[in-house]
């Protein structure tokens, strides 16, 4: 687990040694995530509707963090796979150990029709990187059914679409007026 290969330096130079750390974690996915993941494989995007405030969360965590009430399977509904870009940035990847991204990429927030929570960190395709903008109407690009899997899921955050959806592409429709999504911007 721990190996070191630092070299002894001259006595007046600061001494720096390497310390390689590798820790392995096996996380069991919670029931909500398992249902969401199975939904993606079946071509569905499952949301959870809070019984109290009626907000719809995509990739529900089993509770509404605003009302702090539990949301079980009975709260689950299907959400559309089309929506609007509510915010974005273009990331120039910073190099670090384990980073595989090398080219600038779009990092967008997408609000699906019928949902109250935005999906952060989505890639936008089918349009030049510098033409991406807030208000863009987009639809999910699904993986072929046989290629869908459990990719990207974890026990943290809102979840991931990566098991069923590779990103979003411009639908070709006109932009959505800001007033319609302003409350959910970024």
């Amino acid at each position: 687990m721990t190996t070191e290969k630092g070299s002894a330096s001259a006595a007046d130079e600061p001494m720096v040694v390497d310390d390689f750390v590798a820790l392995t974690y096996h996380d069991r996915l919670p029931p909500e995530t398992v249902r969401f993941a199975d939904g993606l494989i079946a071509g569905r995007i499952i949301g959870q509707r809070c019984p109290q405030c009626r907000r719809v969360y995509v990739g529900g965590k089993g509770f509404c963090a605003m009302c702090v009430v539990v949301m079980g399977p009975e709260s689950e509904i299907d959400v559309a796979d089309v929506g609007v870009v509510t915010g974005y940035t273009i990331i120039t990847p910073v190099r670090y150990y384990g980073q595989t991204k090398t080219e600038p990429f779009v990092y967008a927030s997408v609000l699906l029709d019928g949902a109250s929570s935005v999906l952060g960190g989505q890639e936008i395709t089918g349009i030049a990187i510098d033409a991406v903008r807030e208000g863009l109407r987009v639809r999910a690009v699904w993986k072929p059914p046989e290629a869908r899997n459990y990719e990207g899921h974890s026990t943290r955050g809102w979840g991931s679409l990566a098991g069923g959806i590779v990103g979003f592409e411009w639908t070709g429709e006109p932009d959505v007026p800001r007033e319609q999504y302003k409350e959910f911007a970024v």
Partner: protein, 361 residues
């Protein structure tokens, strides 16, 4: 200490299990909601919230940010977090409520040990120069500590087994404690049978070591006035203090816990156990319980770890808070008028917290 006697008016804890598929925020939510329900207050009445958790235990940065979702952080709340057991979150909240401008504070602690192997993870908690490169694991440190206690002539391996047997019997009766192999059967708790088990880290055997668990715990603190409004049986924190020892095990006397003794003195426990009827001690080995008993001056008449203690239930980062809850429970239900709870942070009793609890005078 000029502090007011803050009261504990609500608590909740999830059952300790070897592994759960619920997320840490879900565990926190269950514990927090139970604590609020018991206190019978709305979460918006909370004036300060403090939580305890550990990124490395949970395997990602900022675990406390997702755990925050259990606290109901909307509208915004006055809040803090310690990268420590929830018992220290309780201490920070206890300091905050002393200011006199809030009525209630919410505390929670949580951790999931199941995703990783504690023997491989916890070397990371040691200094990176001299100890971590050796892969020194908690059980090995506890083994050296137990040997030091044996060498001091104050305990035997049979004493260790007796602690384990008593704890497991108590734990079997505690629905929140972990279900352990050979936990419930009396026949398995025969001390000679326990002594026949193989060593894991000699002189310690499997039953001498706390089994890491998943779980969360929560507590609601209240000013004395609010506590008396809410309940006829408030449990007051008469004193609370925590003290640290040096990190390197080689500069300490591992067979003793001077920082526990000092914390107890500062918390006003008093000599010879200070007349407590119950003590809930966060001992991760049977030998540690004996060291802590001696440091606190607990006599044979004190009921130690009636919950089964950490030897039956160690939801790391919540365990210390669970000790406070278990002690408070026994004051509230009249088992004892005065109890002491202990929590630990770091390896082999490096940093100890002592909390003295009492009912109405």
């Amino acid at each position: 200490m000029p502090a007011d006697d803050i009261a504990i008016v609500g608590w909740g804890q999830t059952p300790s299990v070897a592994s759960t598929d619920l997320t840490e925020p879900q565990l926190c939510l269950a514990a927090v909601n139970d604590a609020l329900a018991m206190a019978n207050i709305d979460r918006h009445a909370i004036g300060f919230t403090c939580s305890g958790s550990c990124d490395y235990l949970s395997g990602g940065p900022f675990v406390f940010i997702s755990n925050l979702e259990a606290a109901g952080a909307w509208p915004p709340i006055s809040e803090s977090h310690v990268e420590m057991d929830g018992a220290w979150a309780l201490y920070e909240a206890w300091v905050r409520i002393q200011h006199g401008d809030i009525d209630f504070a919410l505390v929670y602690g949580s951790g999931k040990s199941s995703p990783s192997d504690p023997a491989l993870l916890f070397p990371q908690q040691l200094d990176p120069y001299y100890l971590e490169p050796l892969g020194l694991d908690p059980a090995s440190l506890m083994g050296m500590q137990a040997r030091a206690l044996l060498d001091s002539g104050t305990a035997t391996e049979r004493d260790f087994a007796a602690v384990a047997a008593r704890s497991r019997r108590a734990g079997a009766a505690n629905p929140k404690a972990q279900t352990l192999p050979n936990g419930a059967g009396e026949s398995d708790l025969d001390i000679d049978a326990l002594l026949a088990a193989p060593y894991v880290r000699a002189p310690l055997r499997a039953h001498d070591l706390a089994p890491a668990a998943d779980g969360a715990a929560a507590v609601v603190l209240a000013t004395p006035a609010k506590a008396r409004e809410l309940t006829d049986h408030p449990v007051f924190i008469r004193g609370i203090d925590h003290r640290l020892e040096p990190h390197q095990p080689g500069v300490r006397d591992l067979a003793d816990s001077p920082s526990t003794r000092l914390a107890a003195q500062k918390a006003g426990l008093g000599a010879n156990g200070g007349g407590v009827g119950v003590a809930e001690l966060y001992a991760t080995s049977s030998a540690q319980e004996l060291i802590l008993r001696a440091a606190l001056g607990l006599g044979p008449d004190v009921s130690v770890n009636p919950s089964g203690g950490a030897l039956c239930s160690d939801p790391v980062m919540a365990t210390g808070l669970v000790r406070i809850i278990e002690a408070a429970q026994r004051v509230a239900d009249g088992t004892t008028r005065r109890a002491v709870a202990h929590a630990v942070n770091g390896q082999v009793l490096q940093h100890n917290l002592v909390c003295v609890l009492e009912g109405e005078r």
